[in-house]
């Protein structure tokens, strides 16, 4: 394909950055653990997007490979997170992170 129809890389990266920041803010402001996990998912996928964009620029497969790795990581994170969540739910009957924070810093 030719230069003309290509989206410049910066725009892709910018999109990824926006997604990333949204995820980050979600992690920071959300109180519900499930939503926090989802925001982390968003952040990780933003990274994946960034990798794919970058890979497209270099026309190399590395980007996609990293994306697969990221998918795996995200899956692992989230499944462990859900497991812990279930435990918390069993013990506290809530998934509000504040009520799950009794340790005083």
């Amino acid at each position: 394909m030719t230069e003309a129809v290509m989206v410049p890389m910066e725009h892709g990266l910018a999109l990824a950055a926006i997604l990333f920041s949204i995820g980050l803010i979600g992690v920071m402001v959300r109180r519900n653990i499930i939503l926090i996990l989802m925001s982390i998912e968003v952040m990780l996928n933003a990274c994946g997007l960034a990798f794919i964009v970058a890979g497209a620029r270099w026309g190399a497969a590395d980007g996609q490979i990293m994306f697969m790795i990221i998918l795996t990581i995200a899956a692992a994170e989230v499944s462990v997170g859900l497991g812990l969540l279930l435990q918390v739910h069993r013990r506290l009957r809530t998934i509000d992170i504040d009520s799950a924070s009794r340790l005083q810093g």
């Binding site: 890389m9 910066e10 990266l13 990824a16 950055a17 990333f20 995820g23 980050l24 992690v27 653990i33 926090i36 996990l37 982390i40 952040m43 990780l44 933003a46 990274c47 960034a50 990798f51 964009v53 970058a54 890979g55 620029r57 270099w58 190399a60 590395d62 980007g63 490979i65 990293m66 790795i69 990221i70 990581i73 692992a76 994170e77 462990v80 997170g81 497991g83 812990l84 969540l85 435990q87 918390v88 013990r91 506290l92 992170i97 799950a100 924070s101 009794r102 340790l103 810093g105």
Partner: protein
Amino acid sequence: MSGLQLQALLPIITLSSLILIQMMFIAFARNLRLTVSISVIALLLTALSFFPMVDHLPISATPLIQLDGFALFYSGLVLLGALMVTFLSYDYLRDQGERQDEFFMLLLLSCLGALILVSSNHFASFILGLELLGVSLYTMMSYPTRGLFTLEAALKYLILSGVSSAFILFGAALIYAIEGKLGFTELAGMNHTSAASGQFILLMGSTMIFAGIMFKLSLAPFHLWTPDVYDGAPAPVTAFLATVSKGAIFALALRLFTTTGLIDLDPLLRGLSFVAMVSILAGNLLALLQDNVKRILAYSSIAHMGYLAVAFVVAGKAGGQIMAMEAASYFLFAYFLTTLLAFSVVTIMSIADHEVDTTNLGDYEGLFWRRPALAAVFTATLLSLAGIPLTAGFIGKFYIFSIGVAAEAWLLMAFVVIGSGIGIFYYLRIIFAMTKAPRTDVKIEIPTASGWVAVVLTVSLVLFGVYPSPIIDLIGELMISFG
């Protein structure tokens, strides 16, 4: 894939296959003793599997793994830490009810992650190792059925380390976008790209990676999670987190920043020395306010990471690199011994208690009269943390001082001196608490495995504090074949 490269992968292969075997044993013949002995065998075999390749270092097996003296040294540390933690957690979990076996499997898994991390030479292996380490680590944290705190600690750590991994990944993506490479060695000398935009994105990327790593090392602006997690997690897991996990990540950070020349980015270096100062100050000052031994240890570990960051800064300065690496390696070695010992004492104290670990300063009052040996060991540990002679910690502190003075980083040195001064205060508080009159005279049982761990660690702590030359020479030899 040549035989040599296969040889380089041998430790990883050994460990993972033994993990599978252990898994099968757990599935079909669940028996705690058996599981633990398999873990020990696995760790020992892995350690052995390093020896064949000692003569032909450095080997780069696949672009992902780079085995050199540096990696070898830190792998040794990781295995040591994992072994000690295995013994500790055996005593800790033994009478915690059924089905504790998986814990040891997870321990091996995160040890595998750490091994990958210390020898990784590519962002892919970096991320994989990091996650393998992290995911199994917070599973370990939440594993024992001890109150709620463990769960909260695990959740906090999961969320924060998830975020920091995301940061690292995004940074890596940005760097990849500019450079088109992911291997550390190919990235070497990269920050000479022409375009200003490239420079900017590059700087942003490396800053994000930097931030992520600071998170994991709990350096000062990003240290908030540390005390909660240290306090909440069961003592052996805290020991693992404090030593193996941090050590591996530090090793990787050192390799990453030095080989890719990221360290030469001036803003990064300045940020780093800032981080070092803040961590030293914050760690020591906040520790003063605590009445909880685990939290004190948490803050003191923040301060120690600050001292390590000094080595980092010096590594960035011209010429100082090899010396700084040597210093960092010895300091980390001493830190491993000391921290493991400290947490083994905490573990021994906590075994009797089933709900939460015994970590209040009050519980340690009169230890000198109840269990003189244990108290003496703990005193040695604290003195080593404070960097007093006769202990390995002193030599580590001495190393930091010498590189700092050699690099003429006077401001940093001032912070180190002040920090150490404050540090003495709270370490002595614990020692003094132990010399008070005992509140109870409940007998403290010292289980065999942990007892032996404590003995071995104490002996080496004093030995390498008085006669450090063997380790120094070893490090010197290994560092030669770096990169």
